[in-house]
Symmetry: C2
Subunit: 335 residues, 2 copies
DNA sequence: TCGGGCTATTGAAACGACTCATTCGCATCG
DNA sequence: CGATGCGAATGAGTCGTTTCAATAGCCCGA
């Protein structure tokens, strides 16, 4: 059925070893032999069988990436950064979407383990530490993405979410807002928790500021809309005068809800700021203020760290890289 | 290093064949043997090596999906639909992003071929027919996504883009617009070409309607913004009174540009309609009218067709499925 | 007690590429 | 003319799983 090195060897009248050499170290083979073998390859339409290669050297040429939500441009940007850097190292990225669901997260880890993946990049959801330790014992290193570890046992690439939260709420304070609502959840997601901590810090530092939490079940446009509707259901006096949403998807949802109410409340009545600065933020009903993270850079850096771990072996000092977020002010927090 | 069936067999004091049977047909094995083997598996932390399985049965348990742009929510939706359906059949989806770039497209096809992928779903860019024929000869069927074939030699799932184009422009006509601009490109992308054809048809059917083309190099927010700026650079009298953008990303970009100009021109001066109805369309500065496609359904249907081809063997009658698009009217074409 | 009919288990072969110790052929040198 | 050195080519063995024909063991009926 499928053409194998053996067929190529037969046709070129050389041994399989030579074919393999032509494929992998052509300089070790006499020029005319190379030509002959390559001709045979073309004539027969030979294509390497990756499974056989993988079997032989015990690991695949892919790295697994598990993100919380592919529908979130922040993560597709990370994926793109990772993919580009991986391609330079002749590696492929397998993209898994945990969808903020631990079962899916686990099932992707299972898959990656069966595939003997080169390494794993993960934006973890549940408590996967034990799992990752096991992978490491097997020789598959992990880099945590968008998350710092408490201990130093893993490499990680993250953005300082506490600082980001502070950035957002300080900004709201600076435009005179005092009754802040934090929209986000579940709190088990570390990014959400940290952004809230940062927000709380800033709130405490501001005289007369109150901070309430409106919690959501996921970081999606839909959940944001629900939160926005809950706010609009209140008496106007009971509403916050500023909202900090844990990410842009939520913020856009909130914005939709506030706008469906008819009058345009943002930013006069209610200021709104999101997080991630996805491409759509600037195109929103009211261009959205946000906290920008260097997403592609996160992805490519994660791959760099991973490759370093792969090369370094066990006795590698894990590295924790933390980027700083950046405030982006637009109309939604004007005045 | 890695634990193999052999180790499990030794520990459970059975043969490797029996371990394999426990893994694949536990009903053929005596109950207490099953228990013993499973215990050994847990104790040793055995995980199947996928490469070896693939090598054995000649193909992987993945299907390859090549899309034009992962940053476009339309395609991530398709991917999600495909992934869910594939998971039901215990298959994985490898997502490749051609980025509207034939070199990348080819390189993903190479990769999938080396991986002996189960089948390929592709939203083709260049002329890949020959390539796909070759894959088919190797036993790897293809389903074209978001594209109908001219001949009937491939299965395909598509949406009637000509109808969609007509839908959009007829709608613009119905709200009294006559000087239409079509923003889109490159024309080599079939979706773009078809939507334009549909637009032209509708334009011709409308008395006094003119249709100009403002062409772009890609279907991105950035390109859309450039097109919008080009329009704003004109004398107001020279500007169109309605814009049909080939997709929502472009439309959002155009919208940004028109809005940066300060005054809010949409929809009074210029009506705007996009295509795809991505989730962000309704959250735009001016909620965007669009033409909706059933994206997740496209993805899952494509996998269905693919599986049918895999099962059906060579003598399978290829199926062409065409969905109808649907007009979604929002503020950007109000009045 | 022997044989037939079961079920449970075995173990070797096969999948395809890669590696590496070995061999081959040839030219150069003493 | 034999020894030495060197580049080129070889081919068996390996990776881990699955398959399948063959075997082992067992019970039951004749």
């Amino acid at each position: 059925m499928s053409v194998s090195v053996k067929d190529v060897a037969a046709r070129a009248m050389v041994s399989v070893g030579t074919v393999s050499n032509v494929l992998n170290r052509p300089d070790k083979v006499a020029p005319d032999t190379v030509t002959r073998v390559q001709a045979a390859i073309v004539e027969l339409g030979f294509v390497r069988n990756d499974a056989a290669r993988q079997l032989r050297d015990g690991r695949s040429r892919s790295i697994g990436l598990i993100v919380l939500d592919v529908a979130n441009p922040f993560f597709t940007d990370i994926a793109r950064g990772a993919e580009d850097r991986a391609a330079e190292a002749h590696l492929t990225v397998l993209l898994g979407n945990s969808d903020e669901n631990t079962a899916r997260e686990t099932s992707y880890l299972d898959l990656f383990e069966e595939q003997r993946v080169h390494g794993v990049l993960i934006s973890p959801l549940g408590d996967v530490r034990a799992r990752l330790e096991r992978l490491r014992l097997r020789g598959t290193p992990t880099v945590l993405v968008d998350r710092q570890t408490d201990d130093k046992s893993f490499s990680s690439v993250a953005v300082d979410d506490v600082a980001g939260g502070t950035l957002a709420v300080s900004h709201l304070a600076s435009i005179g807002r005092r009754r802040i609502a934090f929209v986000g959840g579940p709190g088990s997601i570390r990014q959400v928790a940290d952004r809230f901590i940062g927000a709380r810090t800033a709130a405490k530092a501001t005289a007369g500021m109150t901070l309430e939490v409106i919690s959501t079940d996921a970081l999606t446009v839909l959940e944001g809309r629900a939160a926005g509707q809950a706010i609009m259901a209140r008496e106007p006096a009971e509403r916050p005068d500023a909202i900090f949403a844990a990410n842009d998807l939520l913020a856009l949802g909130v914005l939709q809800a506030l706008n469906m109410a008819g009058v345009s409340l943002v930013p006069q009545e209610i200021a709104l700021i999101g997080y991630d600065d996805i491409a759509f933020a600037s195109a929103a009903v009211v261009p959205l203020s946000s906290v920008r993270q260097p997403s592609e850079l996160i992805g490519s850096t994660a791959v760099d760290l991973l490759l370093r771990e792969v090369a370094g072996g066990d006795e590698f000092a894990h590295e924790q890289i933390v980027f700083q977020p950046e405030l982006v002010v637009r109309d939604s927090t004007a005045g």
